[in-house]
Amino acid sequence: MTALHEPMVSVLGTTAVLFEAPGAEMTLETQRHIWSLAREVERWHEVLEAVPGMNNLMLAFARPPRDIAGLQQRLLEAWDAVPPTALQGRLIELPVTYGGDGGPHMADVVAHTGLGVDDIVELHSSPTYPVFALGSHPGYCYLGGMNPRIATPRRQQPVLRIPGGAVSIGGFQTGVSASPGPSGWNTIGSTRMSFFDPTQEMPALLQPGDSIKFRIEKVIR
């Protein structure tokens, strides 16, 4: 990770601005600060939507302001002014079948980490993972808190299609795909939970501040 010593604000064309929190590590404490900032700036009339990323926040404009420097300054001031808040989220338990056809890259994680399948399953299913942000595709959650011992680099060639519910590891992160699509991550298991229903007013099952616990349903060796 390239460390930032000061918060940084940059423009994404005239569509949005990106605020990046300082710090070398991705932490839950910083993410709580990001959530507070999101809640604060979403009230600003120029802002259509405040979208948390991983220790950063994108503000999509309802209408881009003429005085962009003024907005950037207000953003930095708001960061200093708002206290981090711990969101009172829900805990969702996901039953996972590890390995087998639903976990085609388990062998690659074994090869990279030098750990056995049982150790990997144990280390992956032990933590309670906070949802930091949603992104990538509808309903997809970026999770914090994976044990670094099972970190495995992203694949050299992305897989063209992984199914919805695929549980995978990409670098130091883990996540669950919400719908079929391409992925560069290592898929180690599968779950049948449905994460996204576009017919609902709140279409995503999970929100930032919620948590995921993976429950071992089955291990196929």
Binding site: T2, L12, G13, L134, G135, H137, P138
Partner: protein, 333 residues
Amino acid sequence: MIEVITVGALTTVQDRGRYGCLRWGVGTAGAMDGVALAAGNLLLGNDADGAAIEVQVFPFRVRFHEATAFALTGADCDATLDGLPLMPWSACTAQAGQELRLAAPRPGPARSSRAYLCLPGGVDVPLVLHSRSTQLRGAFGGLDGQPLQRGDRLRAAGGMAEMPSGMLGQMGLVPPELALPLKRDGCAAVRVLPAAEYSRYTADSHAAFWGSEWKITPQSDRYGYRFAGEQPLRAIAPMEMRSHGIVPGVIQVPPDGQPIVQMRDAQPTGGYPKIGTVIEADLWRLGQAPIGSRVRFIETTWDAALDALDEVQAWLADAARQIALHRRTRSAA
């Protein structure tokens, strides 16, 4: 009712886009050429949020099962109605049983890539998360979340028989690529605002980025355009990014140094370094740029980028005035 007779890959129903849903991981989607879509809606007297059929592979043919007005904007595709030629950027009326055919976009320096078929009141598909745009990755929006297939039938939300008065004859607009041309050294161009990682590229990379032509490779679609240049862009030092929000127009630089511009179906987050962003006011130009063509990137400023948005709005306002005038003239006749 219209029926799709001949259709190529990734012909979709699109409106202005789906806004306010990035927090759920839902990208914007929407028409690749928002100006052509807006003009088509104006020609029919539709609201600005009307959905249209975006055609990017040709030929494309539909049959009208009842009399209806329609508008065609975007790429000039030598459109014919039962063999009779139609003016580009115009509205007219089809009778029941007539067939509309769009051929390959006309070659030449102003060649565009995507055509929009607009119907009175917009294409009648359900609103999903406040938009009718097809969300291909999420498989929702548009017609059942899928590209159009042969045999699909679509209705106009305004009803086929409701034709705006005075729109029965043809009137054409001067397309924005002629009214708002943008070139650099004879090459098609788009304006770019530098992004967060711009200063972390080498001076040679900056010179190549602004100074050379970039070719749109065949690996380009509604998700993004992959460009190829003679000199790849090199960072001063490798960068490891945290996943963050991105928008259509963001120019990412993957490890091979050949830039990728995110387009309308871009995912809402990304992790590659960003050298710049094609400004919102110029995204329609890129949406119409053909695969294999070359593009120059022009550095711009925040104020100039907002002025450019105002110019697009002014062109649309002028188009609206011309259409209103034409309607009054015909009603009086």
